[in-house]
């Protein structure tokens, strides 16, 4: 498998199916692991990091889950390709920026991937479409168990899996669900959700955009507590709270349509119209408009396009994806033109 093969394949999590897919975009579960007897990344020198990377590659290669996987050294990946991997959720921005002795393994179906020599030696992740916490965990659990047959992980009877940062110690588990909360955002209930979440051992942040700004009302909610509970209990807590948020979003959407029918239809149809007729469009405007259209599909206002297509456009119109699809580097201004062309083509505008 080569990196360029990914562009023609559709990410599993783009299916736009999966449970609660009109509100929950995708679920990501990851575990952090370290090799016993090796210095953690921040403490190791260049030579030790390089040795660790070799041990990690050799260990992962022994696992049958990664037989046909793509093994990459981050320093050998081009800038556009790195951006492409970040947009695809296969690499963190930090992992892409600090490239010394870092590795990446992508499993053939692109469901599982491993960051090597991150803050921890191993960050194994699985992404599933929709709200699918248990499925994603099951996959991570199986792969992690297999990896632990080929490598010895740092583990203490008392503290559990040992990690570089104590916020991950114990299970090393972080599960995140990406939610599309447009109705809660429109009614300013989102601030209440933010407050409540932090009291419940979870965190929430905007998915697109920097800091507190959440472009397009996409939010990621994750567990914070990783120690003192079994993996199942941690995930169960996350699941229960997310279910409540989803049902609140759903209720609000329905109420909204009842009370402010014209306002909401107007907003959604205008967004659809803009997206179908724009000749120059930035990435963040695209996300905002697609967000409104996604809501419109769920409310039955827009019928000639489905959620799956919108998810796909959302991913493929990001800067690096746009350039990968075009097969060449495109300067920013031309990118905005190219993006609008691409969207009109995808939405079937003649």
């Amino acid at each position: 498998m080569r990196l360029d093969d990914l562009i023609v394949k559709r990410s599993e999590w783009l299916r736009g199916e999966g449970p609660e897919s009109s509100i929950a975009m995708s679920t990501r579960v990851r575990v952090a692991r370290n090799l016993k007897g090796r210095l953690y990344f921040s403490r190791a020198n260049k030579k030790e990091r390089e040795e660790t990377l070799n041990i990690l590659f050799a260990g992962v290669k022994k696992s049958s889950f990664f037989k046909d996987a793509l093994f990459l050294k981050v320093r050998e990946i081009s800038d556009t390709d790195k951006q492409f991997l970040v947009e695809r959720h296969l690499m963190s921005r930090e992992h892409a920026e600090d490239i010394a002795s870092k590795g990446l393994v992508i499993e053939e179906k692109e469901i599982a991937s491993i960051l090597l020599n991150e803050e921890d030696h191993i960050r194994l992740q699985v992404i599933e479409s929709g709200f699918n916490v248990l499925e994603a965990w099951k996959a991570v659990d199986n792969i992690d168990t297999d990896l632990s047959k080929h490598m010895q992980f740092d583990f203490s009877n008392k503290f559990g899996y040992l990690t570089s940062c104590p916020t991950n110690t114990g299970t090393g588990l972080r599960a995140s669900v990406m939610l599309h909360l447009s109705a809660l955002a429109m009614t300013s209930q989102i601030d209440g959700v933010f407050d409540a979440i932090s009291k419940l051992g979870l965190t929430m942040r905007g998915f697109y955009g920097e800091g507190t700004e959440a472009i397009g009302d996409f939010y990621q909610i994750s567990n914070q507590v990783a120690l003192g509970y079994s993996e199942e209990d941690i995930l169960d807590n996350l699941e229960r709270i997310i279910k409540k948020i989803i049902s609140r979003e759903r209720e609000t959407r329905i109420n909204f349509l009842r009370i402010k029918k014209f306002e909401i239809e107007d907003r959604i149809q205008r967004s659809y119209g803009t997206l179908r007729s724009a000749k120059i469009i930035t990435s963040s405007e695209t996300i905002k408009l697609l967000s409104a259209i996604r809501l419109g599909i769920d409310l039955g206002i827009i019928k000639d396009v489905d959620i799956k297509k919108i998810n796909e456009v959302l991913l493929l119109t990001q800067p690096a994806h746009l350039q990968k699809v075009a097969g060449k580097e495109i300067p920013p201004y031309e990118r905005d033109i190219k993006r609008s062309d691409f969207i009109r083509e995808k939405l079937g505008v003649a």
Binding site: Y40, S42, K158, Y161, G201
Partner: protein, 179 residues
């Protein structure tokens, strides 16, 4: 504004709660807020992570001005003071060396410092052998006390064997494989 729980002291803490999908604000005095947060802990053991991290921050600042913490991790050379500055540990052995301090910090972050989740495949083996080793050591003590020296000598050999095996396991099992 008076505290909503005791209705006596002034409310200085403002909490947001979700009950039956309704978000409600709670205005409490410091004492009642503490009680309330303990109750929330007991409910699911959820940590007020923010409070935990604030204390973590305070600890960093204390450390920065306070006494020099001398103990170094023999494997990576890190002191607890180094950790407080960077927020990152240097190796697995740090957890052993700074077990007391980290144990307290982990409670602040997670509300607990006792792992009850999954174990690694290889870890399980080691844990089992360590348990066995402890049993044998207890037996050895009993034999010595009973002055059964011949039996004790035999048992000592067995213990040595297991210890050697465990040591081999924990040092370089996979690390000779590079590729």
């Amino acid at each position: 504004m008076k505290c909503e729980m005791c209705k006596k002291k002034d409310a200085t803490v403002h909490l947001t709660e979700v009950i039956n999908e309704k978000v409600s604000k709670l205005h409490l005095c410091e004492d009642c807020a503490k009680e309330k947060s303990e109750e929330m802990h007991a409910h699911f053991g959820l940590t007020d992570l923010l409070a935990g991290l604030m204390e973590f921050d305070a600890a960093i600042q204390e450390g920065a001005t306070g006494e020099d913490v001398g103990v170094k991790c023999p494997s990576c050379g890190m002191t607890y003071f180094d950790f407080q500055k960077s927020g990152r540990l240097g190796c697995g052995n740090c957890y052993e060396i700074f077990s007391k301090e980290l144990g307290e910090l982990l409670v602040k972050i997670h509300g607990s410092n006792k792992h009850v989740g999954k174990m690694p495949f290889k870890g399980k083996e080691v844990v089992r052998e360590q348990e066995k080793l402890q049993d044998l050591k207890n037996n050895l003590k009993a034999l010595v006390q009973a002055e059964e020296f011949e039996k004790a000598a035999l048992l000592r050999d067995t213990i040595k064997e297991i210890e050697d095996k465990l040591e081999g396991k924990t040092s370089s099992d996979d690390q000779n494989v590079t590729g």
